[in-house]
Amino acid sequence: MLHIHFGNLDGEIYNPPLYFLHQYEDEWITDSLSAEMIRDVDKSTVVGPRLIDSPVLGAISPRELSGGVKTLILMAHDNSGSIFNASACGDNCAKWILKIAENKDLTITLHNIMKFDQEPFAIHILNTDQVVHTFREYVDAAVMLI
């Protein structure tokens, strides 16, 4: 299930792309979910753990992935218990956050109102301890917390 805390949270990783640079592991990149997210969001193809083919930048390393994809990969694979700031992700990452949360309890912070409009879903808003199931319920709750 996806748990969201809106606003600042003590101990959150506010800058996940920076954290990623110093913490990622090769096998996180070649994992099928990561490869799929990289293809969808960055329009790039994973060639190997240290090589990605980008249509704009050419051959890049995982260090040059977008901030959004780096954050998604951390959400999927980092098991340190860290809570990542999902405002490093654009709306085009929302469906992937929900997908990652299908298989694990995922807690994130948000400093903006990400567009979660892929109903049906169940999102637990930690600030109010409320579970929302529609985009409208989610927005009605979020606008009061940002």
Binding site: L57, S87, N112, K115, Y138, V139, M144, I146
Partner: protein, 328 residues
């Protein structure tokens, strides 16, 4: 600093071409659109100039502000375009807002946060999009686009409720207009109270009238409410004072020239937002005339038939033809 500035940043693979119009610009949008790459290229150029393999063409110096010692660095930056990367946490702080107020730089902030302390315009919130290949087949051409498009594209002429951001002269004028139409008009007493009023009145057709010049921090919140099915329309002129200046009531050749290209007249070190400039301009130009304007209390002359009609013509997107062309 005043004026608008075209910026071209490029290397062999990517070219960015955009224009900065005001003291605060915000860039946001989807992941992987090239926001960080733009900042990386600007940083490379700032580090090694043309030897970096990137070029930056702009009439003004372009620099990137990062790191925990941002405040010290900022103190030494003048007459520049200052870019800040996504996830530079300090940009959302009151400290940052205080530090950039009264400075002679323009600031370009990459952030999805509302940045509630900064009075930025709804017009200056941009995304980046690729518009094709440039020059040869190898260079991708990126441009800015306004995320919120036209300011009054969805205006209701027959709302059930009107919420005005203003509580002073602007509110008095709009309440007078809508009282005559039998439509309730309430003041939100400030932009940050609007979303709560919108939720309280959910289910009705609501028109929000606010100062577009400083409404940027509220836009995502209200845009999301609209996307999720709330029946809300927005009318976002620069400010109420801008409407009066546009009405032609004040016969002054300076005013037209200023309204034609405000960026050429509004000094960023004096005015944190354009809204304040337009207020100061209207107060100055109306001084000593029967149209004397104060922000606090509406001069009743603006509710007389002739003056009201002149201002209403500027409001034509809001009003049906009869209301815009008649005061009866």
């Amino acid at each position: 600093m005043k004026g608008k500035y075209r910026v071209i940043v490029q290397d062999k693979r990517i070219r960015y071409d955009f224009t900065i119009h005001r003291n605060i610009t915000v860039i946001r949008g989807d992941s992987a659109t090239g926001k960080t790459t733009l900042l990386d290229m600007l940083t490379a150029y700032a580090t090694a100039g043309a030897e970096s393999g990137t070029t930056v063409n702009c009439e003004k110096n372009c620099t990137v502000l990062t790191g925990m010692d941002w405040k010290n660095r900022l103190a030494g930056i003048h007459d520049s375009l200052v870019f800040m990367d996504e996830l530079a946490r300090f940009t959302a702080s009151e400290d940052f807002a205080a530090a950039i107020r009264n400075t002679d730089n323009y600031y370009i902030i990459v952030s999805r946060e509302p940045l509630a302390n900064l009075p930025y315009s709804v017009d200056e919130i941009y995304g980046i999009r690729t518009s094709g290949k440039y020059g040869g087949l190898k260079q991708t051409y990126n441009e800015f686009y306004r995320i919120y498009g036209s300011r009054d594209s969805l205006v209701y002429q027959d709302p059930s409720l009107v919420i005005a951001e203003d509580s002073n002269s602007g509110y008095s004028f709009f309440r007078n207009i809508y009282d005559k139409k039998g439509i309730s008009c309430v003041s939100a007493n400030g932009k940050s109270n609007i979303h709560a009023l919108l939720q309280k009145s959910a289910g009705t057709r609501i028109l929000v009238i606010a100062d577009g010049a400083a409404f940027g921090p509220e836009m995502e919140r209200i845009h999301r409410l609209i996307e999720s099915g709330h029946t809300i329309a927005l009318y976002l002129p620069e400010s109420f004072e801008w409407i009066i200046l546009r009405s032609g009531l004040l016969k002054d050749s300076d005013i037209n020239a200023i309204l034609e290209s405000p960026e050429d007249y509004i000094e960023s070190s004096l005015y944190f937002s354009w809204e304040r400039f337009f207020t100061a301009l209207l107060v100055e130009k109306s001084q000593g005339s029967y149209l004397r304007y104060t922000k606090k209390t509406l001069n009743p002359v603006y509710l007389n038939d002739k003056e009201r009609l002149a201002v209403s013509k500027v409001l034509s997107p809001l009003l049906d033809d009869d209301a815009a062309h008649s005061t009866r």
